[in-house]
């Protein structure tokens, strides 16, 4: 199926209008009804795995023909185990507390008005993401549980997989007498559908981009609807003069090498210049011994016996998402804060130190969603935080900062109960 430019544009707005129309029904769905659908959808995904895998094979074949990188094909690929994992995610969301209806605060005003602030769904939530079919189902699950309608703009590369998945989800909704429009897939053939989605003011309440830095930047700067910036993690690990060096190296290697493609991976190591030369060298050699290529100023590193690849500004400013790391020598905790302030993407910044002063100063001085004091950068994660599920990691300051789960997909409504009061 192909869309002309015109069709595609009107299809997005048409689907957005349908989403807005069903949002009030979703907003007041009782928790057991939502949980039943989520569990039934998990069941249906497993039962209809063959359809999904057939569709996925078509995407994979097209992807191979188009010469996509193995890493992209790997993210795109589904098998029975991955489908079971996706279904397990829905069951997990079904088991989480329902944020809708939670009363956050309230009081009785002097005039007798009873006032309460209640969590309500955002309404219509758009997602723009890359070729990970699991995001399609995750987004549906989190949106439904938080009472929102989902408009999903996945990658063209995953089109058939996404269509098969959304068909299963919509069939499950219909079987439970709920509107199929609770989850809708938007056309992915061109960038037009993204543009339409992110400018659909009055129809779409939030758009969350999830993917690489370029995708996120395009969505956030092009949008006129509210967006939540996610994911770019240019994370630093600072080793202070007062660090336990063995521990520091263990945390650094964990943050760098555990999984290199994730946003919480460590991308730069900062070495306190007051560290002994042999300690600085030990850090660099530990990285290199683990197969990590270290980029830095050649002379500065040679001064303590280390050999590194020459670094440019981009090495410090951008994520590698690979077995590479940038390294710089800084003047103590203040030098580390200055470096982080210049290059941080506001995701996760870590310090290794046994000095309470240095830890406090670092925690106050860096401006990021997460600050790790003697812990690996890898801990910035919804599951690690105990949130149970995660739709992304916000690196912006408004609305949500850090891992986002169900409460972050809601807004609030003030309800004032009076008995005829006037001012």
């Amino acid at each position: 199926m192909t869309w002309t430019r015109g069709t595609s544009v009107s299809e997005v707005l048409d689907k957005a209008r349908r989403a807005k129309a069903v949002a009030p029904e979703l907003a007041v769905l009782p928790t057991p009804a939502k949980d039943a659908v989520l569990r039934a959808a998990a069941e249906a995904l497993e039962q209809r795995a063959d359809d999904i895998l057939t569709a996925n094979q078509r995407d994979l074949a097209a992807g191979r023909d188009a010469g996509l990188a193995e890493s992209v094909l790997d993210r795109l690929a589904l098998d029975d185990e991955r489908i079971a994992g996706i279904a397990g995610g829905l069951r997990q969301v079904a088991g989480l507390p329902d944020p809708v209806g939670e009363v956050l605060t309230g009081r009785t005003l002097p005039n007798g008005i009873k006032m309460r602030q209640v969590r309500v769904p955002l309404g219509v939530m758009g997602m723009v993401y890359e070729a990970r079919p699991n995001v399609t189902v995750d987004a549906f699950g989190l949106a439904l549980k938080s009472g929102n309608a989902a408009l999903l703009r996945g990658s063209k590369t995953a089109r058939h997989s996404n269509e098969a998945l959304v068909t299963v989800l919509q069939d499950t909704l219909a079987a439970h007498d709920l509107p199929r429009e609770a989850v809708q897939l938007l056309p992915s053939e061109s960038h037009d559908s993204v543009r339409e989605l992110i400018t659909a003011r009055g129809l779409v309440d939030v758009v969350i981009p999830r993917g690489g830095a370029r995708l996120i930047d395009a969505v956030v700067t092009g949008a006129t609807v509210p967006t939540i910036e996610t994911g770019t993690g240019n994370c630093h690990f600072y080793i202070d003069r007062d660090a336990d060096l063995d521990q520091a190296i263990t945390m650094l290697l964990n943050g760098k090498t555990r999984r290199v493609s994730v946003c919480n991976a460590t991308e730069t190591v900062l070495l306190d210049e007051a560290l002994a030369d042999h300690d600085k060298l030990a850090v660099i050699e530990a990285l290199q011994g683990a197969g990590v290529q270290v980029h830095g100023d050649v002379d500065t590193h040679a001064a303590f016996g280390a050999e590194v690849v020459p670094a440019t500004e981009a090495d410090f400013a951008e994520e590698y998402l690979s077995m590479d790391i940038a390294s710089a020598v800084v003047d103590g905790v203040e030098g580390a804060i200055a470096h982080v302030t210049r290059y941080s993407s506001g995701h996760t910044e870590a310090i290794a130190s046994q000095s309470a002063d240095a830890l406090r100063r670092f925690a106050d001085g860096v401006d990021a969603a997460a600050v790790m004091l003697n812990a690996s950068t890898a801990f910035t994660d919804g599951e690690q935080y105990g949130m149970g599920a995660e739709i992304g990691i916000s690196t912006q300051k408004l609305h949500a900062r850090g891992p986002m789960a169900l409460p972050e997909l809601t807004t609030t409504k003030w309800i004032l109960e009076g008995s005829g009061q006037v001012r």
Copy 2:
């Protein structure tokens, strides 16, 4: 002083950079230091009232020459009493709890990491507003107390007043060894400075527009930095078949006529068609008796004996901010919800009813920052809510909804304290 286009543009970015540079210092200011400056600034405004009033006279003279409406000149005008009110606002903010450093939640993870979510300032806050000099001081006070640097883009009409006010504020900061850059006035000669401010990604953390619908729309749709939409209040008051009619009329008149120029004023009355004709007539006649011009469908209203001015779509879609109201007959609470859903700006929606069912249905079914059950729309207000101060009323769903005060000018930071943990 006039600015060429080029100068104006670079001045905004230069001031934004200076604001960002001092933000870390402001972020860690102890509460007593902030409160002392706020109280000293209040004192200084009163002591230097003559300078301020002289500057204000220049703006008023220029405004009269330019033929500005009396209502605009009235908002622009300062006198000793208004300056005392502005100073009192600063003292009130000094007395409010400091939101910075508040721990919102926290836990110890199974691996022993101690995790806490702490309120921190947003950083650099921009305001774009119209010719109300009091906003200049209010914004400074709320920004400083919440640890933020303020970039203020007021109206050209209030330029001399704003310059005089900001000079007093900056002198007070300097006398307390704090950076003058905690509050800076941006050039107001052209729209260029607004454009520069709202696209200064990486320098400005939030821009809050405050003023008419056009100003707000221009800021929100043109911005690439995060914004908070404020203020447009197309508020409805629905009178249900089960209303106490006398009470309903009292609340309606209060919401409509208390102050017509404010965003929480009632702009449309919705009459349940099940009301008796004489009750419908009583509502319309009460409005007309209070000097309110009622706009509506002539035939529908004639059917119960009321004479109204013919209404167009714009009467229902826009705020009057005057002694006018739109009126429509709707089919019960569901009809009211449908009308509100179509025309609401998401600010405040009210119902008068003695039916618990109708109240519950209305509270669930309308999507707005505030829902008033048997109370006047005029209660949507930071002071009424007990917040003590207000920088605006958010009509968007992300970050803040309804009156915004100090906590809404903060974000959070997760701090994870470990002892060498890895994943």
